[in-house]
Amino acid sequence: MALYEYSWLILLSPIFAFAVILFGTRMWDLATRGRIAAKAAHETEAHVGHDGHGEPDGPDELIHEKGPRGEDVVFEDWEDPKVPQLTMGAKVSGYLSVIIMALACIYSWILLLNTAGLISVAPQLPTQGISLSQISYPWCQNIDATNNCFGLGSYVIAFHLDRLTIPMLVVVTSITLLVQFYSQGYMERSAGYARFFAYLSLFAFSMLTIVFAANFLVIFIGWELVGLSSYLLIGFWFNKKSKPAEDRLSPASASVEAFIVNRVGDVGFIIGIMILFVNTGTFNFSQLPAAVTHMDKTLLTVAMILVFCGAIGKSAQVPLHVWLPPAMEGPTPVSALIHAATMVAAGVYMVGRTWFIFAAADPLAFQVVAWIGGISAIFAAVIALVQTDFKRVLAFSTISQLGYMFVGMGIAAGTAYGPGLGLFHLFTHAFFKALLFLCAGSVLFALHHATHKETQDMRVMGGLGPLMPITAIAWLVGTLSIGGFPFFDSFFSKDNIIAEAYRTGNYGLWAVTLITAGLTSFYMFRAFILAFGGKGGRLGGMWGGTYRGKIYRIAGLEEGNQDKTYLVEMSPEEKEHIKVPHESPLVMTIPLIILMIPSIFAGDWFNFYPYIQAGAPALTVRDVLDDWLTWVGLAVSLIGFTWAFVLYARFEFASVHDYVENRAFLRTAHRILLHKFYVDDLYNWIIKYIVLGLSHIAQAFDTYVVDGIVNGVARLITVLGRDVRHVETGRVQTYMIGFFGGVAVLAILVFALVAFVK
């Protein structure tokens, strides 16, 4: 049992790393930076003129341009501030976080293997799990004998380890480890290296808080902390500007959007938690399913739907999905870790944790969960069909796959699966999505080095397959995994969700998820062909045909409008400045290779369902192959793959593009999808006119009414003083007027009284 009792070390190790990096190694890094920069500048000057071009080759971070009068202007690239060389402090930050996460990862794997029965170093975990530590804060003054606070339970910070936690632990620690390892290469010359690893460790701690949480309070603490880490990490390059021509926000705006949209979901979350607490007196996940049976069922359903609102915000489901595509402005390892594998999965995990509370409510709660998941799945999938930005396709793919997980959670109502159906897809998805994102990062890293520009548009990629073989194979493995190719991951996890939708009678959801599966394989394979397909050598864009090898660049960017960009072939002078992209360094490709293994084999954990929920049916290959539903799902995804191949590898991209442009229906459909159904524009409009309008009204109220009253009182006093003082003329005669006037008034009064009294 000691094995389980020390698992709080997994939770606390990243925050230890965070503290050490933030207050130790980063300070060291900052202190030595000046010295290193001076040394590097000195070395660069010594190498002036040695690169064969006959002119000094400046460091990458300087931009040489022509000023308004034609003069040469040189300035630093604030887009992507680089340091010439990493200091020791920064490197040690990286090593420290990797080592600590490696230890946590090994521990998690030991826990997993032990509880799954594959190794045996400790006795089995009891079914209800063990409670790791409990810090009880009785926040009320009057506590009765049973430690209750006026009949309500006291507030407890409690952590819990059970069979639901352990797969998540493995996912979080493994992927964090691989991402941190990868970032050592990706963030190699970035300015905030140590800060990056500090934030990654903070994120790991926050996510583990969510995973280990035993009650709603602790999960909410972790919930907000991951939101904070996401904000810090998306806005990591905070000086970067927005690129409206590519429909990209600045990272600072994107991070604010992510945080605020998350908070919108959290409003519902908090209200739901409060309703549950007030009616049952406990926050604890183990006690709630029994306690809520005494609640009014409608109120419970409302509360659970509100709790699900938090998951909608955190896991980027429709209508709160708008933050995830702009969140791609963060560094790619961040996108891999947070916005693919872990943070967005927190919503799914929370629904899994509270699954039995959902089960105690009206079936409507589960239907809401499932349908919102289904709608998000197909919504995001159709948008991803036309996106040209490499990472944006993956972002929408994430939204879509998270929708699948919620469908899995929702349709398992009444079956023996429990939360396992959706959680299996979470487990497999984390691996292949992280793989896909890390490959994307590898591609972007290579292209940035080759073209000295940040190129994320797939239309100018092409032919990278032979140039970057490991990345290409990894991406292909990821694509096959996500598309449900036979015996890869999604074949077991996602296709089972689709089949189960049919078996439980949710035919609408079955149709939606089936169509989405076809769309998923289509757009993922399309991305693969556009980026990696074509003959090697120089970048061969697909625009000019499969094997022509022309190089294109995006033009029309200065208009600032996404619809007005177009492709133009590069002139020979421009081609001179482009280098051939090559494979990323080993520190980046090793995580890709390692991640390929679970991307293929994670689906083979057939006992996942009984592991999570005792009594659930285990997957068997025989059952899967016998079921006609599997073949239908397989057929749909293979159709998707084939259609993408036919469209993009056999035909020229130009002819496909022209075909769409020439037909009004297809053209309008393309525009609507490219603008993401105009949801972003709708939200911007709402915020600009309604929210800000209301705030302007409130501000006007504050300025004119509230301040008006306060200032008005002061002004009244001033006026009274200024105007009434004129009574004091200082002349005796004026006073005499007052005196005798008063006498006259009194006399009249006396006469009147006497006359009327008589």
Partner: protein, 107 residues
């Protein structure tokens, strides 16, 4: 038609108002003093009128008004002397007898 108390009272009131106007509206300090004297004399007339037309027992009260009038004359004289002394003092300091100018207590 004979004289009645009312005639005396109305005369007194009229004279009082005339005197009041003079005391208030005149700028020259001496004129203000003259107005005050008029006011005092108006009161005197009222007092004498009350004395003459007295019908209240005991009958000895018919002298009250007369004695009151003598007192008023005395006090008026004393007060005029003091007021003139004040005016002379102000004139020595301010070189003016315009009461409109004496407004140091102005706001």
């Amino acid at each position: 038609m004979g004289l009645s108390l009312n005639h005396f009272l109305v005369l007194g009131a009229l004279l009082f108002c005339i005197g009041l106007y003079g005391a208030i509206a005149k700028h020259n300090a001496i004129a203000v003093l003259m107005g005050i004297e008029i006011m005092l004399n108006a009161v005197n007339i009222t007092m004498v009128g009350f004395a003459f037309y007295n019908t209240v027992k005991p009958w000895s009260t018919f002298l009250t008004g007369q004695i009151f009038a003598i007192f008023i004359i005395t006090v008026a004289a004393a007060e005029a002397a003091v007021a003139l002394a004040m005016i002379i003092s102000i004139y020595r300091k301010r070189n003016t007898v315009d009461v409109g100018e004496i407004n140091l207590m102005k706001w």
